[in-house]
Structures are given as C-alpha cells and as structure tokens.
Symmetry: C2
Subunit: 383 residues, 2 copies
C-alpha cells in the first residue's frame, strides 16, 4: 500500500535525497569528504540564516538539545524555560538532569508566550544565564515570537537558546538578525533527509558560556566540534551517508530559495487550516504554525480509531496528541517534501474517515476550502 507521511518527522523524502544515501561510502578523513562537508556547512548557515558556526552531530534532535545544555551550563546555573508543551518539558528535564535550576515561565499548551513575562523573569533574577524555548512547540503546533525574545535578551548578558528542530525551513528564522544565540535543528523535518543528524548554531555571546561550562561532556563537546569544523571535519566519525543526503537536500533548498520554501509551508498550512474550519472542526491553540495543524477532535471521535482508519484505508499517517493532549487532538504535518496535492490527500482521508466514524461532515467541503486557498495563491496560477 502507498504510504504517505503527515507526521512531524520523519517526513517524506525527495527521490534524489533517498538515493544519495546509497552512494559508495567515503572515508571521513579525506579531502573528498571535506569538500562535501564544507558545502554542507555553507548550506546550513544559509538555512539557519547565520554567520555563526553550525555544529553537526550524529544523533536525534534531543541529542543536540543535550549538547546545548551540557556546553552552555554548569551545575546549579539558573535558567528560564518557557513552558507550553512536551518539548518545553524536555528542555526542563535535560537541564535538571545536568543539575541546572529551572525557572518556568508558565504558558498554557497551544498558546504563545508573552515576551513581557520573560523580560520580568530576567529582571527579577539577574542570575539567569539563559532562556530556553522553542520556535515551534511541535506537541501543540504553536509558534513562539522569537524575534521579540531576541529584542529583549540582546540588551542583556542572558543567552537565548531556541529549539527550531521542527521549524527550521518551515518558519521564518533569522538567527543573526533576531539575535538568537543557540539554535537547534534536526534532519528529518523540512530539511527533507532521514533522521540521524542534528545541528547547533552558536553565537559568540553564547561561546562565553561554553568557555566557562563545567558540565561533563565528551561526545557533545563544542570546543572539539569547533576545532574540527575549522578543518571541515567532525570530532568523531559522522553518519557519512546522511551527510551526502543533506548535501543534496540543501542544494534543493538553496535552488528554491529559503523564503520561497518558508512561503510554501505557510500556504500549505493556511489551506489545511481553512479546510479544517470548513469541515466544522476547530484548530487547537491560538498560534498555529506552518509546521503542523493541530485539530481538536469532536468528543464523539476516538483519536486512535480515526488515525487507524486513515492509515488502513488511505495509507495516510498523521500524528496524535502527546501527554495531556493524547486522545484530544490529531496533528497534521505539512513539512518538508510536501505539496498541494498531498494536502488534498490528507484532507480527503480525514473527511472520509470522520464520516465513517459518525461525524457529520459534507464530503468535499474541506477540499473545496483548500483548493480555494491554492487558487488564490499566485504560485499556482498561470501568469
């Protein structure tokens, strides 16, 4: 059966990126590899919109989050974590595992953060070394105003650390312009490669924390990563076949242009939201992102049954809710190698599955709304 991924990672892959992995393997201490890695580093700086070093780790995104904590903080350091979802909680858990002291800025799941609350938190506690947050909180779909946080923190010595794992290339992210000191990225999202690589872009302001950090680390050590990167190398053997894939996906992204890539995500997200509303359903939360659309399910609909039906009948895989949202929402990712026809497919599968499960929906209504969005877009009109 044809399978179609609408999960917030892994995401579908372009044919050439899939095949890149099958190349003859290259030894990582050769000039041939260094040339590939140099191109990858330039491509990463482009998509992160930064002149800072971007370190590459062979790991999941969580590994790179741990790397940021282990390199920026020392035990007992005070930090501020912006709440609002499962990945905010992950920041808190990692920081606590490394002996850091977490001050939580409470945010209701699905809502955005009030930048003033962060400003208040910082000014009340001058010991705060860093603020940890998400660009998009993947568990709810909410997008946070990183630009506003950057404006507040750049006047202080406090460092801004942003998990952009799901948001990179799907949302505007101006690392340098916004003054983001550490940005975490992952491979299996809009970067359109399989899981297994993760990234940390790091500013000179953040580097001061790195120099003073006493937390134990070895594999994640930024100092070793920086020394190696100067020679277009990694400290330890990297996932070479994934780096080939990344080189080729970065070429595709550069060719399309990062702004167009982000706009494409914005349009797919808009069409998805309009379709959901046209079907009489509600969007979860207040700050929906370009990454996923979280749909609040009618109380009579069983989330597991719905997802199972969409998968069994149409090969369409969407994500469920996590933790406190389990059973209450589904999450439709429109991320990476996804186009307008994919959105038509997922909306159609949702309409038909909901009808079968007894939810009263007029077939085609969601589809029409999606088509209208695409029809309005200059991108899909003949000139």
């Amino acid at each position: 059966m044809k399978q179609r991924l609408f999960t917030p990672g892994p995401t579908p892959l372009p044919e050439e990126v899939k095949l890149s992995q099958a190349r003859e393997i290259v030894h990582h201490r050769t000039n041939q590899f260094k040339q590939v890695f140099q191109e990858v580093e330039e491509g990463l700086k482009y998509v992160f919109q930064t002149d800072n070093d971007v370190f590459l780790f062979t790991s999941s995104g969580t590994g790179a989050m741990e790397a940021a904590v282990a390199n920026l903080l020392s035990p007992e350091d005070e930090v501020l974590v912006i709440g609002g979802g499962k990945f905010a909680e992950r920041w808190a858990e990692i920081i606590q595992a490394f002996g850091g002291k977490v001050n939580l800025v409470d945010v209701e799941w699905g809502k955005g953060v009030d930048p003033l609350k962060v400003e208040e938190g910082i000014s009340q506690n001058p010991e705060i070394k860093a603020v940890f947050t998400q660009l998009v909180e993947t568990s709810t779909g909410a997008v946070y105003d990183i630009e506003a946080l950057g404006r507040i923190l750049r006047k202080t010595s406090t460092v801004l650390v942003v998990d952009a794992i799901s948001a990179l290339c799907a949302h505007p992210l101006h690392t340098d312009k916004w003054g983001v000191d550490a940005v975490i990225g992952g491979s299996q999202k809009a970067l359109m490669i399989p899981p297994g690589l993760a990234f940390v872009a790091i500013s000179e302001k953040a580097w001061k924390l790195v120099e003073n950090s006493t937390s134990p680390k070895y594999y994640w050590d930024f100092k070793k990563a920086r020394n190696a990167l100067a020679k277009f190398q990694t400290p330890y053997t990297p996932a070479v076949s994934l780096i080939f894939a990344l080189r080729d996906s970065l070429r595709l992204l550069k060719e399309e242009g990062i702004e167009r890539v982000v706009n494409r995500h914005a349009e797919l997200a808009k069409a998805t939201r309009k379709a959901i509303l046209a079907m009489g359903l509600k969007i979860f939360g207040e700050n929906p992102s370009n990454v996923i659309t979280s749909v609040t399910l009618p109380p009579q609909i069983d989330e597991k049954k719905l997802r199972r039906l969409m998968q069994a009948r149409f090969g369409v895989q969407v994500a469920g809710g996590q933790d406190s949202l389990a059973g209450k929402i589904i999450r439709i990712a429109h991320l990476g190698w996804t186009d307008t026809s994919d959105i038509i497919v997922v909306i159609s599968a949702l309409e038909m599955a909901l009808l079968e499960l007894g939810y009263s929906v007029e077939l085609g209504k969601g589809l029409k709304a999606a088509e209208e969005v695409f029809g309005e877009s200059r991108r899909y009109r003949s000139r």
Copy 2:
C-alpha cells in the same frame, strides 16, 4: 576512479545494504518499524553472542562509549583502564570528563595485557567499580585476551566493559560465555553498514551500577533505552534508514554464520601478515588482530607519501598511525565486506608504491605469499 577502502571504518558496503538506505522512510512509532527493530535486536544479540539487552544509539561508537561511562559510573568512582593505544586513552578521557578516577594498567602500544596485572590492580583496590578495555585496540591492531579478563572479574563485583567497536564480527566475542558486562559496538566496521549507529550490550551485573549511577545523562539514559526496547522502540527518533541497512546486513551475517564470518576475517588477516613479512616488512606489535594489520614502515619511507601514492595510483585507501605512531606505521583493515581479491589488490598497491618510493621489494613476492594462504584454505579449494 574506483575507490577501495582498507580503513578501519568506514568499510566497504554490500550493494543491497547501500540500497536499503534508499527505501521509503517509515515512521518510528509504527508496527512496521517495530517489526524491523525486533529483527535487528535479535540479530544484534546473535552477533554479540548474548542474551542481554543490546541498546542502539544514533551516534558514533564514541557516543556509545560515553553512554557506558555516564550510565555505569558516578563522579569519584574508581576504575581501572587498560592502556596500550588511542582508544584506551579515549576511555580514560571520557571517564575523567565524567569525574571518574582512572587507575591505568600500563601496556606498551602494540602489546597485549597481562591478565595478572589486572587481577593485582583489582585486589589492591577493592573500590574499583569497573575495568575498561578494548577487544581490539584499533590504533595498534593488538587484540586483548578478554576471555581471561572475564574469568578474573566474574569472581568479583567489578564489572568488565569492553569496546569491541572494530572487533565485532571480526574476532571471536562470546559476551555471555566470557562474562563481559558491557560491550560497545559500532556500525561502520564488520557490521557492513555506514557510520551512524552504535550499540551497548549490558549484563544484569552491570545493571546494578546503572541503578546507582548519579552521572548526568539524558540522550544516553539506559533506563529509558531499556523501557523503550521492551516495546521494540528507541527513546528518541533513531536513524531509520541506517536501521533498514542494519536489518539487511544482519541477515547477511546470519546467513553466513558468525563463526564463518570470523574465520573469513582471520584468513584475510593471516594472508595479509604473510604477504607483509614476505615483502621484508615488519608487523607492528605482538598481538595482531583479524581487524587490521599494522605495518612498521622502513625508516626511509614517508608514510604520508606512501598513502597518497597508493590512493592516487590505485584508489587504495589505508590508514596511517595515530598519535605516537603517526608516520611510523600504516594500518591495513581487512574488515567487513572484504574478500581475498581485495587483499590481493591492497598488497599489490603496497608493493608497487613501495618500489616507486625506493624500497627494495621483489614485485609479486607479497602477492605469492597471500595466494599461498588462500590456497591452503579449504574455503577456496574445490572439493
């Protein structure tokens, strides 16, 4: 130009393993993935020769070494590290990074360890929680007598931790029979898949240390890994395409049979050593392994020039010496997807390159010696 890898990782890959990576990506929280992961787990237990859990991490082998340290030890714990090479030093560095106290059993590079020295070290210091060593020290090629160490340590509460990253599937390794409590493996060696995955097999004896460990960890947390493994899952998104490749390489290894795989490595190593000696060169060290053959270079031969010439003329890549052995040896790996004809190729390239660089060698002499070893082997004779 055709490239041929004789480096101790990455190693050449079978065609079907390369192509496995190009498959349509599967979401890691599905039954489809769980079935693959269950087969992988069974295959790993087979090649590790263990009934213990084998945890899989998306990382290089060094990551899994750090995982072992972070999970087994607590700060201030006393350990014994068996020296003798760069990877022994890596154990010491990681342990020290995590606040452990390293007692070194001094071993000259290229030599084996005297098990009595380890017994002595343990009895002199009953605080020693664990002994860290290598099955094969990849920087020298020496193999260590893990069976003897297991015999000593199984009578004590001290845990035996063995880095078998380069040796797995190339050398006999009987994790359970020998009483090895933690074994580290890597993907880009005799497992015949690209770099990016690493493994830790862990005994119940070692699990007691895990339960008491206070070292900070999150990504490497064995407790989370064990809970996830019970459901044929990993705690965080794994490198799915590499897991496909691993499933297929484990099938190949199982089909051949682990003993035959090890014997194949032993024969290739023997032929290489005989060829080297026939060329009038010396094998470095006293305990050469099935993994690599380290060749002591004549003083007039420039290691970098030699390797560059072999690469430029014949596409043959061998490794140089590391740290104190830099410039003094070359290391020829006969590891993974390597056969008798590959050995003929690397010996031929070495003969021709040495002659060109002014070393007096009779062309064909090394090749003849290698052929004689293969001729003696029942494996390559018609029946």
